[in-house]
Symmetry: C2
Subunit: 287 residues, 2 copies
C-alpha cells in the first residue's frame, strides 16, 4: 500500500521518539528531526511507508554511531515474552482449538512494536493477550486452515523481537517441517533479526533465514537474492505485522497477514476498526 | 515559551487536519502539508508555537481562497455553548462559591479547541464541564481573588468560539466595568473574533476590542498599537487557552492563565499532569 498523507506526521513523531531512545543529546534529536522533515518535503507518496522508515532508521544509526541502538530493548522484549511462554503454551494445550488459539496469541504478540509505542510493558502485552483470547477477531478460520494444510512450503515473515517468541508457539502448531522463518537482515527499530530468533530458540524447531534487508517490512527489491528465491518458491506466506502488510499488501503472492491494526491508515486499508486483531488474506487468497 | 521539538509533528498533523477541514481536494491537502514540511525544516525553535501556526493557517486560507474557513464551525460552537448556558448559569447561581464556579466553567469551555481536536461534540463539552465542577484543579483561589479585586483595569484575552460564551459567565461574576475583552483581529482556526463576541452578546456587558492579529495566541509585536496600549495599561491580564499561554508565558506583565493542558509540552511547561484544568499565574504574580 502507498504511503498516506497521515503517515507523514507519524514519520516525524517516530523519528523524534527514536532519536530520544537512541541518544540523550538534544542536538541529535533536532538534527534527525530536521533531516526527516527535509526528506518528507519531496517524499514519493507511491512508495510504501517502510521505505521511508528504513531511511530514517539508517540515518539515525549513522548519527549515533551505533549499529543496533535497540539491542537492549529487544533483549528485554525477548526475555519478557519468554517469561510469559509457559502459561501461554498451557492455554494453547488446553484450548478446544489449539491452532486458532496459537494464531490469536501470535497476533497478540504484535503489540510489542517500538515503532508505534516506544515503551511496551508486560501489562500492555497481557492486555493484548486477553483481548486476543476473548474478543472476536477479523479473520476466517476455515480459510486459514485450508491455506496452511494445502501449502507445501510456508514462508513465515516475522516482525518484532519478543513477538517472535509468540510466533514460535504458532509455528509449533503448524508442521514445522514445511515452514521456513525469515527475519530482517539487519537491525531496524525492534524488528527481529537472527539474534532474536536464536534468543527464543526458533532455530531449534525450524529453518531460519534472514531477508538481507534493514527495512521494517519486506521490500522485495531490497532483499537478498537468496531470500527472494525462497519467497518465490513458497506457496503460502504468513506475514506478521503492519510493516509486512504495508510492503506486501499489493503483492500477487498468496499471503496471509497477521497483525494488529494499530493506526487509522492501516485499519482503513484492511477495512477493520482501529485496534482490531487481523488475520487477513491477500487478494490472491480471497479471490 | 519556545517551540518544542514535540510541537513539530503536531504542526504537521494540525496542518493536515486543517487542510481536510477547509478543502475536499487531496491535492490541496498534499500541497499544504509539503509547504509546512518545507517551513519546518528551517523553523526557528526560539519562536513560540503560535508564530508557526499563524503562518500555516494564513497559507491555508490563501490556498483555499476563503477568508474564514472555520466560520461554520465557529457558528456551530457558539450555538452549542449558548444552548448550555442557562443550565450552567443556574449552577453558578446555586454554587457556594459562584466566582470560582465561573472560573472552573470558563476553563471547561477551553475544550472547544479545533486546533487540538477537529470535532468537539456536545458530549465532550459536557464531560469537560463535569470534570471542571467535580475534580480538583491546579490553581489558587485566594491568589485569583486578590488579583481581580486589586486590579483596576482587567484585560481578558479570549481563546475560542463557543468558549467565549463560557467566558461571558465569568466576566459577569467579575466587575464588568473594569474589564475589557480582547478577541483575535482576524480569523484563524476557531479562535474567537469580533463576530463571535457579538454572537454570544459579550458586547452588551463589556467593552470588546480586537487585537489586530491573526495569530492563534497573543504575539504582541504582531498586534495593533491600540491593543498594545490597552495591554500595557491593564494591571491584570486574564488569558485563556494554550495559545495565549504559549505566547505570553515569558512576558513580564501580571497575567493569570486559564486553560486546559491539552498537550504534553504545555503540561510540562505548566508543571501539571496532562489534561489538568489550570489557573496559573505568570511569574510576576507568583513572586
Amino acid at each position: 500500500m502507498k504511503t498516506s498523507l497521515d503517515c507523514i506526521p507519524c514519520f516525524v513523531r517516530q523519528a523524534l521518539d527514536a532519536a530520544r531512545l537512541v541518544s540523550k543529546d538534544p542536538a541529535v534529536h533536532e538534527e534527525i528531526l530536521r533531516e526527516v522533515l527535509r526528506w518528507t518535503v519531496d517524499i514519493d507518496m507511491h512508495q510504501t511507508a517502510p521505505v521511508m522508515a528504513q531511511r530514517i532508521h539508517r540515518r539515525l544509526r549513522e548519527l549515533v554511531g551505533v549499529e543496533d541502538p535497540y539491542k537492549d530493548v529487544k533483549d528485554h522484549q525477548n526475555r519478557m515474552a519468554l517469561k510469559l511462554l509457559p502459561e501461554l503454551k498451557a492455554s494453547i494445550d488446553m484450548a478446544v482449538d489449539p491452532l486458532m488459539t496459537a494464531v490469536r496469541l501470535a497476533i497478540a504478540g504484535n503489540v510489542i512494536d517500538t515503532g508505534v509505542n516506544a515503551a511496551v510493558t508486560e501489562t500492555r502485552v497481557l492486555d493484548s493477550v486477553r483481548k486476543a483470547l476473548t474478543e472476536p477477531f477479523a479473520g476466517d478460520r476455515r480459510e486459514f486452515c485450508r491455506a496452511v494444510t494445502g501449502a507445501r512450503h510456508i514462508l513465515y515473515l516475522t516482525d518484532n523481537a519478543g513477538e517472535i517468541a509468540f510466533d514460535r508457539m504458532l509455528i509449533e502448531q503448524l508442521d514445522p517441517e514445511k515452514v521456513t522463518v525469515a527475519v530482517r537482515g539487519a537491525p531496524v527499530i525492534n524488528d527481529a533479526t537472527m539474534d532474536d530468533a536464536l534468543a527464543v530458540g526458533l532455530h531449534r524447531i525450524v529453518e531460519v533465514i534472514d531477508n538481507g534487508s534493514d527495512a521494517p517490512g519486506t521490500l522485495l527489491e531490497d532483499c537478498s537474492q537468496a531470500f527472494r528465491r525462497r519467497f518465490a518458491e513458497a506457496d503460502l506466506i504468513l506475514a506478521k505485522g503492519q510493516g509486512n502488510f504495508e510492503s506486501l499488501s499489493d503483492h500477487p503472492s498468496s499471503i496471509l497477514f497477521l497483525f494488529q491494526a494499530k493506526c487509522h491508515v492501516i485499519a482503513a486499508s484492511a477495512r477493520v476498526a482501529l485496534g482490531t486483531h487481523v488475520l487477513a488474506p491477500s487478494d490472491t487468497l480471497t479471490n
